[in-house]
Subunit: 318 residues, 2 copies
């Protein structure tokens, strides 16, 4: 039997996905709009507008869950700070409740993608699992003893800001550190690795595209790799090496049953996942070297589906 | 009122501490013997012998807890593998129960030091805390929602094998990886940093001691640092930088209330802890940069006290 309909919103560094689901991992209604470079005020307005639009499309939806790429105060629903968007010290739950007149629950976007994969996807049936969402940045979620682990005040699970290269490349946005896995293996980093490879190997497909004035970003790297360009494949492999070393550390620390890799960069598929998995098999301690490393099953909608599930769970618990 | 007496054994890479406690964090009886370089058989014999000696000293003690620096199968009490000792695929709980005729509970040494600090020490009253024991290697324990987190089959919480320098210095013993925080900030690593500083600065106290043929290990570095030698202080500071970068990652991932630093290397005191704490304050995301970084309160007996507490808890639960 279908459950109550709920609205899920997944705010990323470049786009906002809003959808309506009813307890199954498929959208009854869904829309995606850009969010890149938006001011704090415009992001909140956009969220309210898209949630209201979803509610008009599915008027029986009775709750809202919102995933945002920020550290949060779980008690108050305040966004504390965010790496790749302009959200700082913002009472976002309260603002959205007022604008939408629906019960709103807020959580970190990585936590909600983890929830979705644990309920419906690649971590279904596990007690302990981790998820990394690899996009503009790298977010994450922790599933421990069958629940989302959020840290002491709900800011937890910033798995992208685990250091893998001390004094390495400066991290992104508001992260003050260097050498975080986000700085070395995110979509943004893959674009950078690709540009460096293009400069080093001007005769490669990637090198010729750079010379032709094309922008070498993650998408361009993926296209060139799909066409068999070794420079592009090497750039993705390098990101997989960094990613894998972060996963070695996380496997040693958590001994999860499975690590799920999601987010936009999963478009790279096994070109990214296979080298990361190999690192865990070769370099984690026994028995953590048996930790499974798999692609997310719910695809780019995982965050939205998890947000809707969380909104419904919180509304039912209230 | 004093609780039932219990025997705790803390097996480290260089020594074995066995004691008897009664539910307060002080030993009623205690003895320490070397364990460095012992074969698997000799280590088990030594454990049985010292536990029996403790039992003779305090015959009312009715349970045993043993902390070992190994990944474990929590269900069966098997040691699976260990970085700094020769324990591989060993039914250690069963062997010790037979030899001592007491109920024996086995756990990772880092988990038990964490338990002791959470019950009686620097993490008292917290719901979420981490502990790193810095000695020959680096062990760790995770206290989440008021319980020890052990990973999927009890092998979890190898916090020392979080990578901080990709492709860095080879890690120790049976760890197949490079650049783990254990390889960069353990007592062993501090000795190495000290030798490198002594070679670079032959006029320093450490340099002169090296020239005089003295062994430059963690103890020698600590002595020279206490005498004000800048080369030695710099070697400890370097370890603090690496340690701190691991703590930045762990703070971002767990958002713990406190990170407790224990183990023998805590003899370095604020020379090691202060630079590590500074990294967290400067380089963790908001609000994880507020994570407290403090010294263990129970000193070198934490592992033994936690082992005894765990032995009693498991015997009472059985």
């Amino acid at each position: 039997m279908a459950e109550v309909e709920s609205i899920g919103a997944d705010l990323g560094g470049t786009k906002l996905a809003v959808g309506v689901v009813d307890g199954r991992p498929e959208a009854l209604w869904q829309e995606e709009v850009p969010s890149k470079g938006y001011s704090q005020e415009r992001v909140v307005n956009l969220l309210a507008q898209q949630i209201n639009k979803a509610h008009q499309a599915r008027p029986t939806a009775s709750s809202v869950g919102v995933g945002i790429p920020a550290t949060l105060d779980h008690e108050t629903g305040h966004a504390i700070s965010t790496v790749n968007l302009d959200l700082e010290d913002l009472p976002i739950r309260e603002m959205l409740s007022r604008e939408t007149r629906l019960p709103v629950a807020i959580d970190n976007d990585g936590n909600l993608a983890m929830l979705a994969e644990a309920l419906y996807g690649a971590a279904r049936g596990t007690s302990n699992a981790l998820l990394l969402t690899i996009g503009t940045g790298i977010g994450g979620g922790i599933w421990l003893n069958g629940e989302i682990y959020r840290g002491s005040t709900g800011a937890g699970a910033e798995l992208g800001h685990l250091v893998v290269e001390i004094d390495g490349h400066p991290c992104q946005g508001n992260c003050p550190n260097r050498g975080c896995v986000e700085a070395m293996a995110s979509g943004t980093a893959i674009g950078r690795h690709g540009r460096e490879a293009a400069e080093r190997e001007p005769d490669s497909l990637l090198g010729r595209r750079l010379a032709a004035g094309e922008e070498i970003d993650a998408r361009a790297v993926n296209e060139a790799a799909t066409a068999g360009d070794q420079a592009a494949i090497g750039a993705i492999d390098l990101a997989g090496h960094y990613l894998g070393q972060a996963l070695v550390g996380l496997s040693n620390v958590f001994q999860p049953e499975v690590i799920v890799l999601g987010g936009g960069a999963i478009a790279f598929g096994e070109l990214l996942i296979a080298p990361a998995r190999r690192e865990v098999e070769k370099f984690a301690l026994k028995p953590m070297n048996e930790t499974k490393v798999v692609a997310a099953e719910l695809g780019p909608s995982a965050g939205m589906i998890g947000a809707a599930a969380y909104g419904r769970m919180e509304a039912e618990a209230a």
